[in-house]
């Protein structure tokens, strides 16, 4: 029908709408190929120019905002003296090393060159770190713009996000929960508007919101991850210590259904551990969540290979607990708090990532509250293990051991115990002997003293005053005193021989 109508169309309607005389084409919006190319080129050019202008403006605004921020932090920086001092020292250290090196090589050229070195090198460290972070956010800005470019409302979205982020940077001294509330409100308002105003599908909105989250949180991360106003850091250290003290917890106690003897399983376990540790290195909440999800998938694989069944929560949670205990992930509480406060809410509430994250929260809560009964242990056993007085790997002789490896371990323990007891006895004996020897020595010196005394007593009274007569020296003391004393009897000796000259 439509085809037939096309045939009967007036030929003049087929001409290029630019009026160049060539035939146009509907696919080229009624233009001929040449005009279309020109037009398209212009359109493209215009867009490129617009992009350029936008990028330039953003760059300028970024720089302004950055400068403003620097300015604002200057008066604030007084309490953070240690850092600036450290930097000072750093910059001082560097030139001095350069100094000595240059001195070594150019011993004749004096300090003049070194001074110029100094002047050049000192500002570089601080400016390079500044450049680093701004370059980082520059990349995210660029990516964000690239992502928004095809969207009709892209510019509007960017403007709002940028304005919001800047406003939040100035608010970073407020309570973190309030801060989180602001960010969450922003997410909510923006996604509401995207849904209604721009008629986006929910998937589309989600993908935009992911980029929004990335752009905002890369900027705010430094200020809101483990902020000083909270006790997040204290909690991090507490859970880390707690996990360390639970090093003795075994797979059996947690009823973890994985068999690490299987290479594929132990491989998955290692990967799961790596993933949950990696969470700390990400800055965007969504990226942190993705680490938890990857970790969970490896756990599922370990369970599936071990049990030949799809993992249910009954299997998954204990295994996740085991992985967390083995990994002892850095800044665990800070990461959980950060995700809770700043992640896109829809992702956390109903999404798959949210499910795994919730299980991670459960694992941490379980580890914090863990006691004997939750590991099928008596409170006494739990206490012994916690205090390190006993270990499930080396059970005390009273513990009943059913397995062969258990009894083997038991005999080994008993042997060790015997050996230790034997060594203890021998040490006792050595100590006893040493004590004996000490008293013998004391006795001996007493004896000697006594003997000397008795000898001295047996000598006639007054003799000690006549050392002169002692030419034989019966007692060593007398002899030595005679030698050491000044040569009192010198005058009694014949005069020394004098050299004499013989004539002849």
């Amino acid at each position: 029908m439509s085809q037939r109508r096309a045939i009967h169309v007036d030929p003049s309607e087929l001409l290029c709408t630019k009026g160049c005389g060539f035939y146009g084409n509907a696919a080229w919006q009624g233009l001929c190929s040449k005009c279309w190319r020109d037009e398209n080129q212009r359109e493209k050019q215009k867009q490129i120019q617009e992009d350029w202008a936008l990028a330039e403006r953003l760059q300028r605004e970024e720089e302004e905002a950055y400068a403003y921020r620097q300015q604002r932090t200057q008066p604030h920086s007084t309490p953070i003296k240690p850092l600036s001092k450290l930097e000072e020292r750093k910059t001082k250290e560097k030139p001095s090393r350069v100094n000595s090196v240059t001195k070594l090589f150019t011993a004749k050229t004096p300090s003049k060159k070194d001074v110029s070195f100094d002047a050049h090198s000192s500002p570089s460290p601080s400016s390079s770190t500044g450049r680093h972070s701004s370059a980082d956010s520059d990349i995210t800005t660029k990516e964000f713009i690239d992502f928004l470019k095809p969207l009709k409302s892209g510019r509007e979205i960017f403007k709002q996000c940028r304005a919001f982020t800047e406003s939040m940077i100035y608010k970073r001294d407020i309570e973190v929960d309030e801060f989180s509330e602001c960010v969450q409100d922003f997410y909510q308002n923006l996604s509401d508007r995207l849904l209604t105003q721009f008629k986006g599908s929910s998937e589309h909105v989600e993908s935009v919101m992911d980029e929004v989250e990335k752009y905002i949180m890369i900027r705010l991360y430094k200020d809101v991850f483990c902020p000083e106003t909270t006790d997040d850091e204290k909690k991090d250290l507490a859970i880390q210590k707690r996990i360390r003290s639970l090093h003795w917890v075994t797979i059996e106690m947690l009823c973890v259904p994985v068999d690490e003897e299987i290479p594929e399983v132990s491989d998955s376990v290692v990967k799961a551990i790596t993933d949950v540790i990696e969470m700390d290195s990400k800055r965007v909440p969504k990226d942190k969540l993705a680490c938890v999800t990857r970790c969970s998938k490896h756990i599922f694989n370990a369970i599936k290979v071990s049990t030949k069944e799809a993992a249910s929560a009954d299997d998954f949670l204990p295994t996740l607990i085991y992985i967390v205990l083995k990994a002892n992930p850095p800044r665990l509480q800070s990461n959980i708090q950060y995700i809770t406060r700043f992640c896109n809410p829809s992702r956390l509430m109903t999404g798959e990532d949210g499910y795994y994250f919730t299980n991670l929260c459960c694992a941490v809560a379980f580890i914090e509250k863990l006691d004997g009964p939750s590991l099928n242990l008596s409170p006494e056993e739990f206490e012994l293990y916690m205090s390190g007085q006993a270990s499930p790997h080396w059970p005390p002789p009273t513990a009943a051991c059913s397995s062969a490896t258990g009894s083997a371990a038991l005999t080994q323990v008993n042997q060790s115990m015997d050996l230790l007891t034997g060594l203890g006895v021998r040490q006792e004996r050595v100590l006893e002997k040493a004590r004996q020897m000490e008293s013998d020595l004391i006795d001996w010196t007493d004896e000697v003293e006594q003997k000397v005394q008795s000898v001295l007593d047996s000598l006639p009274a007054g003799t000690p005053e006549l050392p002169v007569t002692t030419d034989s020296g019966t007692t060593p003391t007398a002899a030595s005193s005679a030698i050491d004393s000044d040569n009192v009897e010198n005058e009694l000796l014949p005069p020394p021989l004098q050299p004499q000259v013989f004539a002849g």
Partner: protein, 217 residues
């Protein structure tokens, strides 16, 4: 946002509660993947499963959260069912202890989420062991009614009662969500309540089954 708009997608979170071995996993695998005791498992996990539904022209995304049922994890319940819109509580009709557990959960859920959460109590039928008495069933039904829950008997093995149960749960969750919407009306508290889990999403008008290339599924 017009209240009488065309397509809207609801996203609901449903927690699955029940003692170990009462049949939670079987129930959800039957519902979401139509599998029972499948030896050729292609499913990696049965802890988090989703289902897309179309109820009276409204699209519904169900996310079903399995929970660890062991006693030592009992205290973790509130972390799991935060922000959930519905709960399916499973017990074994031949084991009244497992029903007692259900009662405890109901108490906790109502305390924490009030009437915002829709409850389904599910008695798993084991055809081989029909030792339950009619009296017990009366007790169970009257209890469910007293706590504002619906009671169902299901069999994962025979695939009986499961679709109906979830369908009814979804309808009730939709009613709750709509009531909440009406309540807030054009109020300013919109953000707070929708952050609580009910997400209402406008569909693009042309999103009909024929138009989708890979989005359906």
């Amino acid at each position: 946002m017009a209240a009488t708009g065309g397509g809207k997608t609801y996203s609901f979170k449903v927690v699955l509660l029940g003692e170990g071995c009462v049949g939670k996993t079987s129930l959800v695998l039957r519902y979401c993947e139509n599998k029972f005791n499948d030896k050729h498992i292609t499913t990696l996990q049965a802890s988090f499963l989703t289902k897309k539904l179309n109820i009276t022209g409204r699209r519904v995304n169900l996310a079903i959260w399995d929970t660890a049922g062991q006693e030592r994890f009992h205290a973790l319940g509130p972390i799991y069912y935060r922000d959930s819109n519905g709960a399916v509580l499973v017990y074994d009709i031949t084991d009244m202890d497992s029903f007692q557990k259900v009662k405890n959960w109901v108490k906790e859920l109502r305390k924490m989420l009030g009437n915002d959460i829709c409850l389904c109590i599910v008695g798993k039928i084991l055809l081989l062991q029909t030792r339950f008495s009619g009296g017990a069933i009366v007790v169970v039904y009257s209890y469910a009614e007293s706590v504002g829950a619906k009671h169902y008997h299901t069999s994962a093995k025979l695939n009986k009662g499961i679709e109906e149960m979830f369908l009814d749960l979804c309808k009730r969750m939709m009613e709750t969500a709509q009531a909440e919407e009406r309540l807030k009306g054009n109020g300013a508290s919109q953000s707070a309540s929708s952050r609580r889990g009910v997400q209402i999403v406008d569909d693009e008008p042309q999103a009909t089954p024929t138009g989708g290339c890979c989005s359906s599924g």
